[in-house]
Symmetry: C2
Subunit: 445 residues, 2 copies
């Protein structure tokens, strides 16, 4: 039997960062990480394998991050937990004793139980190198690709397939792409960009069957239409992995993920859960949240890892900070939309500012930029923000996220001091975070 202090199950972002954080906070701890994959993919980088970086091998988290932090790696599959004995058994026949256990066992892509989903050429976005190599081979021979799901992963996969000059169609159930995350005006802007790039988007529609014999030939839609397809890719969300926890008698939460408290402890004091497998509580609503993001996973890992020896950090809840880019259009979102906030029972006001992300507007790379900030009317605190524009959106949304996390009010944000530069940002006169806050204030008093 192996004995360790901190045992981590799962080697993706959450598991790795949990291990590194234990090491940073507890230099003398023995740390062991068990994962079943030979190689670990950078999760958010997966779509970019297919049209940009060229192969799954170029999208790996290097194991040097483990060795550099003195984390022992065991490639094996954890099959059961004995909470009383504080041991984990593996498929390879090993038993590993732990002081504290960290479950970072992730999620599986959802594939609906449609006829034909098992045909050759039907894929989802699995974090699995050999599987993605299979998708790459299929795309190498394909002409027509249908992506089912117009969320982030779906659009990014569609755009990467388009970079390979394939005929690409996205099928989305809702009235717009990205409609679960962004306001309509942003979704429409993205649909324009997709159209410019020659990607066909069919909204208000859904797949009812995958057609073909052994191999996929097409997709049948709710509208009755049939789309030709050599490859079909599902990008409709994930289902948390919970079997290991459930079998061990750990509590499962409302959202069918592993229940955790604010310290990221499961119903067993010696077992933490982090990342996609762990239940999330929304920062604003205090209700269970369906958000699953690598950046939430790593935050949870920074919390749980610090709590290995003593309870040091509490989770304030999932804010949800997203960004994406298609063509020249970048989008960012943090916290809540006005619509969702109102549905949740909060009275909110929205401040909107439009400008360009350079100054003067004649600077190279200048792109239109729009910011919508959502403030809780009673407390005046920022609870959400959306931004569209050029590449600077990627960090701009993190300014919004920092303001949400620190409880900044509209008045505070209206007097934020910001760095501005002609080649890098909007002008100090038009800086849209400050101006959107100032305009929201007018609606608050």
């Amino acid at each position: 039997m192996i004995k360790t202090d901190a045992l981590i199950i799962g080697g993706s972002a959450a598991g790795l960062v949990a291990g590194i954080t234990v090491r940073r906070h507890y230099p003398d701890a023995k740390i062991t990480l068990v994962r079943k994959e030979q190689q670990v993919l950078i999760p958010c980088g997966i779509p970019y394998i297919f049209g940009t970086v060229g192969s799954a091998d170029k999208n790996l988290i290097p194991d040097a991050a483990l060795s550099k932090n003195g984390i022992d790696l065991i490639v094996d599959e954890a099959t059961s937990i004995d909470k009383e004995a504080k041991t984990v058994a593996t498929a390879g026949g090993e038993t590993i004793g732990y002081e504290k256990l960290f479950l970072a066992i992730g999620s599986q892509p959802l594939v609906p139980p449609l006829p034909g989903v098992d045909l050759e050429g039907v894929f989802s976005v699995k974090k699995d190198v050999p599987y993605l190599n299979g998708l790459m081979e299929a795309l190498n021979k394909a002409k027509d690709v249908v992506v089912i799901g117009g969320g982030f992963i779906g659009l990014e996969m569609a755009d990467e397939c388009k970079k390979r000059d394939l005929n690409v169609t996205v099928v989305e159930m809702l009235p717009h792409c990205l409609f679960l995350v962004f306001d309509e005006h942003i979704c429409v802007r993205m649909e324009e960009v997709l159209a410019e790039r020659g990607i066909k988007v069919m909204t208000n529609n859904k797949a009812t069957a995958i057609l073909g014999d052994r191999k996929v030939k097409g997709v049948k839609l709710g509208s009755g239409e049939e789309l030709k397809a050599d490859v079909v890719i599902f990008g409709i969300g994930v289902r948390p992995n919970t079997k290991l926890a459930q079998d061990a008698g750990l509590r499962i939460g409302e959202r069918r993920s592993i229940w955790v408290d604010r310290y990221m402890r499961t119903s067993d004091d010696s077992i933490f859960a982090v990342g996609d497998c762990a239940e999330k509580i929304d920062f604003i609503t205090n209700r269970p949240s369906a958000l699953r993001l690598a950046s939430i996973a790593t935050t949870e890992a920074h919390i749980a890892g610090a709590n290995f020896g003593e309870l040091r950090r509490e989770n304030v809840g999932a804010i949800g900070v997203f960004s994406t880019k298609v063509g020249g259009l970048s989008l960012g979102m943090a916290g809540m939309r006005a619509k969702a906030a109102r549905e949740a029972g909060l009275d909110v006001v929205v401040g909107t500012a439009e400008t360009v992300n350079r100054h003067p507007g004649g600077m190279p790379g200048a792109t239109k930029m729009r910011v919508d900030l959502v403030f809780h009317k009673w407390s005046c605190k920022l609870i959400g923000g959306q931004v569209s524009g050029g590449d600077s959106v990627g960090e701009f949304v993190n300014v919004i996220a920092a303001a949400i996390a620190t409880g900044a009010t509209a008045d505070k944000i209206a007097t934020f001091q910001v760095g501005t530069h002609p080649a890098l940002t909007a002008s100090p006169i038009a800086y849209p975070l400050v101006n959107a806050a100032e305009l929201a204030l007018k609606q608050m008093r």
Copy 2:
């Protein structure tokens, strides 16, 4: 005599934003802006006129910002203030009565009293369209340019001149360019980029005379060396304009600018001062500060404008947030450096993280990125940060600035939730703000 409610003297960033802010907070106020310039330049855009946007005309703040906000414009020069009568007299013979007066009278570039500074071909970076048109004409005929001062403006002017294929030399008194703002490792990195771009930098050196008869021919240095020059540009800082205030008996501060309280009021309750002409108090040290930035000016204008009718906002002090870009290297800085903090009597620790600004590293545009965060050891609050990397530095430094402004501690920042995307940011595992905070924590306890 004209009567107005809010009278603003000065039409650059501070004056304009003061006017817009009065309008936003007090929809019914009569607002009048007096400025002496026919056209107003975007201050931070001035260097980019010469190598990028092509003419001063393309770097103007449009007067539509005034008319759209119902601000009356008078192009004239304010010559005196009568505090008791609450009137301002102008060079054009007008008298304007006010309820509240906003002085946004800016600053002048410093030119040292060296022999030859009045020669033809010697310039500073004045916010004056005809003057800058003169500089443009001189550059059109020039071959050798000497820039005196290796700060932001100096380097940006040097880089723009280099884009015109001129021989460019920068003369800097200190051991490094940008040494007043950045740590040595960043200054050295910038000097490498300047060298790659063929810009000669002479540090630890200063101009002792400008050579020539009617027209400049060269620059004599402290080292004895003589540099050939058709054009000499001074970029060594600014001197606040205070005469109008001083003549009116308003109090002048320690740093030879117009004294103001936290509400941005001068020693007269009815007169505010904002922007380069107004005294600044450092956010961290609580001491008068030499910082002069358009973004500080606009923040002060958001404060003073809101205080027109009642006292709504207080100035927390100047944080100082900078960014710049030369070649592919962008730099950002917010708050205090460790060295300056220690000199000011604060015990600090520094957390450093290095990564790339994309993930995986094979994504196009991936650039090395380094972040140094300075934390006050006792309170654990972030008080400063420096970042070098690609374009994303421009908004990344604003995440740092927001964290400083909101009093975020290292522990809070180590659990910040951030948006990450392969094409736009570092990976969630390596996000350098979070990791630098985590590494600083190790030195705090």
